[in-house]
C-alpha cells in the first residue's frame, strides 16, 4: 500500500438513492494492469469516472501516491494530466481536426512547443494507424476510427496511469488486436492501466489483476489465472460461464 500509485478507499457513490458503488477498496501499484469486468450497469464506468474525479464520490477517498485528491481544482488538473482517461463515447473535440485533438492538451497543459506536440501526436496516431487522417473532423470518422484517435490523444499526454472505458468496444477484430498490442506494449514501458473491458481473453492475457464487479461491489479481485480458472464466487462463475464455455 505504501508504494501504490492510486488507492481507492471505501469509495461509495449514489445517484439519488440509487447506490451505484458500495465501499470500493483497492490499490493500484506501479506497472499494474488492472482489468475490471462485470455485467452492464454494475458500476464500472462510474468507478473510472470517480477515479478521474469526473464524479464526486458520496463518501470515501482517492489517493494518488498517498496524497488524497480533494476538491482543489489546481490539484485535480495536475492529477488528471498524470491520470488520463479514454472514454467509451470517445469525446473527441468536435471543433477540431484529428491532429488538433491530439495537440491541444499537450500544448495547453504540458506547454510543449508546437513541434514537440506535433511529433508526439504523429507518433501516437501512427501507433493506432490514424496518422493519414490528421486533417479529418471527428464527425467524418467511423466509430472505430474515433476510438483510435481518442486513445492516441490520451497517449500524447504521456500519463502515468491510463484509464480505459471499454476502449475496444467499437473496434473490428483486426483493430482490437492492434490496439490491444499497443496496450500490451505500453504495459512494458511501465505505464499503469485500469481497463474496463468485455474482452475476457485480453483481461486474462494482459492484466496483472482482474476485478469482477457486480451491483456496485467488488466481488472478486485476483490475478487472472486464479479468477478465470477458479472463480471463488458463485456470481463470478455464472458471469464467466458463457466465456469459459464459448
Amino acid at each position: 500500500m505504501g508504494d501504490a500509485i492510486i488507492s481507492v478507499e471505501e469509495l461509495s457513490k449514489a445517484f439519488g438513492n440509487h447506490e451505484v458503488l458500495r465501499k470500493i477498496d483497492f490499490n493500484v501499484g506501479p506497472g499494474e494492469i488492472i482489468c475490471i469486468v462485470g455485467s452492464s450497469g454494475s458500476g464500472k464506468s462510474t468507478l473510472l469516472r470517480c477515479i478521474n474525479k469526473l464524479e464526486t464520490q458520496t463518501s470515501g477517498k482517492i489517493r494518488y501516491h498517498g496524497k488524497e485528491i480533494g476538491a482543489v481544482q489546481k490539484e485535480i488538473n495536475d492529477y488528471r494530466s498524470k491520470v488520463g482517461m479514454v472514454f467509451q463515447s470517445f469525446n473527441l473535440f468536435n471543433n477540431m481536426t484529428v491532429l488538433q485533438n491530439c495537440m491541444l492538451c499537450t500544448r495547453k497543459v504540458l506547454h510543449l512547443s508546437k513541434e514537440e506536440a506535433f511529433d508526439r501526436a504523429i507518433t501516437h496516431l501512427k501507433q493506432v494507424g490514424m496518422a493519414p487522417f490528421i486533417n479529418a473532423n471527428p464527425t467524418q470518422l467511423s466509430g472505430g476510427q474515433k476510438q483510435r484517435v481518442a486513445i492516441a490523444r490520451s497517449l500524447c499526454m504521456n500519463p502515468e496511469v491510463l484509464l480505459f472505458d471499454e476502449p475496444t468496444s467499437a473496434l473490428d477484430p483486426e483493430m482490437v488486436g492492434e490496439v490491444l498490442n499497443v496496450m500490451k506494449e505500453l504495459a512494458t514501458t511501465g505505464l499503469t492501466m485500469i481497463i474496463v473491458t468485455h474482452e475476457m481473453a485480453f483481461a486474462r492475457d494482459v492484466s496483472t489483476r482482474t476485478i469482477f464487479m457486480d451491483q456496485g461491489y467488488i466481488v472478486e479481485d485476483a490475478p487472472p489465472a486464479e479468477l478465470f480458472k477458479n472463480p471463488k464466487n458463485a456470481r463470478t462463475r455464472e458471469f464467466l460461464r458463457r466465456y469459459l464455455a464459448g
Binding site: 478521474n52 469526473l54 480533494g70 476538491a71 482543489v72 481544482q73 489546481k74 490539484e75 485535480i76 488538473n77 495536475d78 492529477y79 488528471r80 494530466s81 498524470k82 488520463g84 482517461m85 472514454f87 463515447s89 470517445f90 469525446n91 473527441l92 473535440f93 468536435n94 471543433n95 481536426t97 491541444l104 492538451c105 495547453k108 497543459v109 504523429i122 496516431l125 501512427k126 494507424g129 496518422a131 493519414p132 487522417f133 490528421i134 486533417n135 479529418a136 473532423n137 464527425t139 467524418q140 481518442a150 490523444r153 490520451s154 499526454m157
Partner: protein
C-alpha cells in the same frame, strides 16, 4: 443624386424622394453615426456578454481557498445584478441616468461615447443570457474529454466549449446586432444625432414624419440586409466541414 427633381410632392412616394434628396446629407450623417454606435456597441457588448456568460458558468469549487471562493461569489453576484438591472429597464432610462449621472460626477463625456457605452452595457446583459444558453447546448462529454486530460475548466471553456457554442450563437448574434441598429434610436434622448434623430428633424420640418420614417426604413433595410448576409456567410463558414485530404505521407504500405 436622383436624375429628376420633385418640387411639389403630392403622394407619400414623392415625399420620400423629395425629403431623401433634400436632406441627403443629414440622413447620411445619421446613418454613419448609427452604424458606428451599433457596430462598436455590438462588438464590445458581445465581448462583455461572453465574459459575463463565462463567469456565470463557473462552478465554485468546494476545494478552493476561502478568498478565491469569496471573490468568485462577489463577482458572480455583481454579474447577476448587472444582467438583471440592464435587461429589466428601458434603454432610454439607462441612457439618461448614465449620461447625466456621469456628467454630474464632473466627468466630461460626449453623447456619442455615452451612447456607445449604453449600447455595450445593454447588449452585454442580453448576450450574457444568450451565451449561457449556447454553452448549455454543448454536450458535457466535450468538456469531460478535456478535463480528463488535465485542462482547467477555463481553458476547456475557451478552446473547446466556446468555439462550438459560438457556432450555435451566430443567428442570435445577428438578431442582437439588428436590434441594436434600431435601438440606437433611443439615444437621441442624449442628443446623439443618429438616423432616427435625422428622420425626426426632417419630419418635423414638413410635418411629414411618416414619409421621413419610410426613408430611414429603406436605409435600415439596406444596412440590415447587408449585415445579415455577412452573418449568414459566417454561419455557413463555421458549419461547413470540408472534405479532408488523406495525409498520404503517413500512409503505411500494406
Amino acid at each position: 443624386m436622383l436624375g429628376f427633381s420633385i418640387t411639389d410632392p403630392s403622394n407619400s412616394l414623392e415625399w420620400m424622394i423629395f425629403l431623401a434628396k433634400k436632406y441627403s446629407g443629414m440622413f447620411l450623417e445619421g446613418t454613419w453615426l448609427t452604424l458606428y454606435i451599433a457596430v462598436a456597441g455590438t462588438i464590445l457588448g458581445f465581448l462583455l456578454g461572453y465574459i459575463i456568460g463565462i463567469i456565470q458558468d463557473i462552478r465554485i469549487n468546494e476545494g478552493d481557498s476561502i478568498l478565491k471562493k469569496g471573490i468568485f461569489k462577489i463577482l458572480k453576484a455583481i454579474c447577476r445584478i448587472y444582467v438583471e438591472v440592464f435587461r429589466d429597464t428601458p434603454m432610454i432610462v439607462q441612457a439618461m441616468v448614465l449620461y447625466y449621472g456621469i456628467r454630474q460626477a464632473n466627468v466630461n463625456i460626449t453623447p456619442l461615447f455615452a451612447g456607445v457605452m449604453v449600447t455595450v452595457l445593454n447588449t452585454g446583459a442580453y448576450m450574457a443570457e444568450t451565451v449561457r444558453a449556447g454553452i448549455g447546448s454543448i454536450d458535457m462529454g466535450q468538456r469531460e474529454g478535456a478535463w480528463a486530460m488535465g485542462m482547467s475548466p477555463m481553458k476547456t471553456m475557451i478552446y473547446v466549449v466556446l468555439p462550438q457554442a459560438f457556432k450555435n450563437i451566430i443567428p442570435e448574434m445577428a438578431n442582437t446586432f439588428l436590434t441594436n441598429l434600431k435601438m440606437t434610436s433611443v439615444l437621441n434622448v442624449i442628443a446623439v444625432q443618429e438616423l432616427f434623430m435625422a428622420a425626426k428633424t426632417v419630419g418635423g420640418n414638413y410635418y411629414k414624419y411618416f414619409e421621413s420614417y419610410l426613408v430611414i426604413a429603406v436605409i435600415y433595410f439596406v444596412l440590415c440586409f447587408v449585415f445579415n448576409r455577412l452573418f449568414t456567410f459566417l454561419e455557413k463558414k463555421m458549419k461547413k466541414t470540408e472534405n479532408y485530404a488523406l495525409a498520404v505521407e503517413y500512409m503505411e504500405n500494406p
